[in-house]
Amino acid sequence: MSDNQTQSKTAQEPSKDQVLIQVNQLDSAYGERKILKGIELSVKQGEILVIMGGSGSGKSTLLKNMLGLMQPTRGEIIIDKMNINTVDKQQMLKLRRTMGVAFQGGALLSSMSVGDNIKLPLRQHTDLDESTISIMTRLKLELMNLAGFEDLMPSELSGGMLKRAGLARAVIMDPKILFFDEPSAGLDPVTSVELDQLILELRKAMNMTIIVVTHELESAFTIADRIAVLYDGEIVKTGTVEEIKACDDERVANLINRKPREVQIDGEKYLSRLTEGAE
């Protein structure tokens, strides 16, 4: 029995009726290259789940699958009782309206002002009056400490500001589920702590379910209800912060202790890769 399977029997694992997102036996690949292998994961309503792992562990691929941006090669993802791999376009669109995504670099449209970027989902998906949309946008900008930046273009913002503006757009429709890719990456320590605080406040006030993908330990330990550790495309441990910190699995411990992984080399294959096609 794998560590992950063992973990599924602890008290922290959500019961079936609490589960908002369920990932079952998920495999995902880029062409022949298998990235995710047998991912089992559940997220309950109102939970903050942090997906952690080193570069290349499959974090972003898992996120893309959960957003329905990638089709798995095996397995399924159920969100709010809907299988996102089999639902029709209309249902997927409806589901997407309950989901917000904050991408790593903010992903704002460069041709629009910050305010217009944030207003975009409301203008596209609601019939709210423009004055209501405007107040909602300013409320979110205030929340992100970006008051007064509404008329600036994305190119005029710093990296941290772009990230916060991206988060403002992600939560403008008060989504039920928020996906957040690397919230702390590239931020100064103070802004990073403020963003963590904001994530906790969003959950508390809006009962949002939040999935955060990160490799920032401090941030993960601050915000997570549970952490899923990905290693080489597999979830090697899921647990509370305390359980992750106490985990004696070498792959988890190395991540927590920032120990570089030892790469095992097959000498013959290595030589073959280096010399393939050479005279």
């Binding site: 019939d127 709210l128 004055s131 409320l139 929340l143 008060d174 406040e201 969003l202 006030a205 809006m206």
Partner: protein, 107 residues
């Protein structure tokens, strides 16, 4: 979500019930602005409100702005639980006149 109006002193009381969100905040907006257009101050009663999203909050901000311009009052009564947390998150608890109950309003 449903809402109904009653009178208390010189105020119209707007009782909100259930959840105010993107799908119905426009109705609340029309009702609120209509009351203010008729020159009446408003107490928005949150006692039966279980959830309010940003569009609902923006509607109330719009109402407060309209009330101020007309030298009328807009107060919120019985804010508790999740709606109070949203008010706090958006710091609007520092903007609105929050009263414990409708009866607490001064003439």
């Amino acid at each position: 979500m449903s809402f109904e109006c009653s009178d208390h002193l010189n105020y119209k009381v707007l009782h909100l019930t259930g959840e105010v969100d993107l799908s119905n905040s426009s109705k609340v907006r029309r009702c609120l602005l209509d009351i203010l257009d008729h020159g009446q101050s408003v107490i928005v009663d949150f006692s039966e409100l279980t959830y309010i999203d940003s569009s609902g909050m923006a509607t109330l901000v719009e109402g407060l702005n309209a009330a101020n311009k007309k030298k009328l009052t807009l107060a919120i009564a019985n804010a508790n639980g999740a709606p109070l947390q949203v008010l706090e998150l958006t710091r609007l608890n520092q903007v609105f006149n929050l009263i414990a109950s409708v009866e607490d309003i001064k003439e």
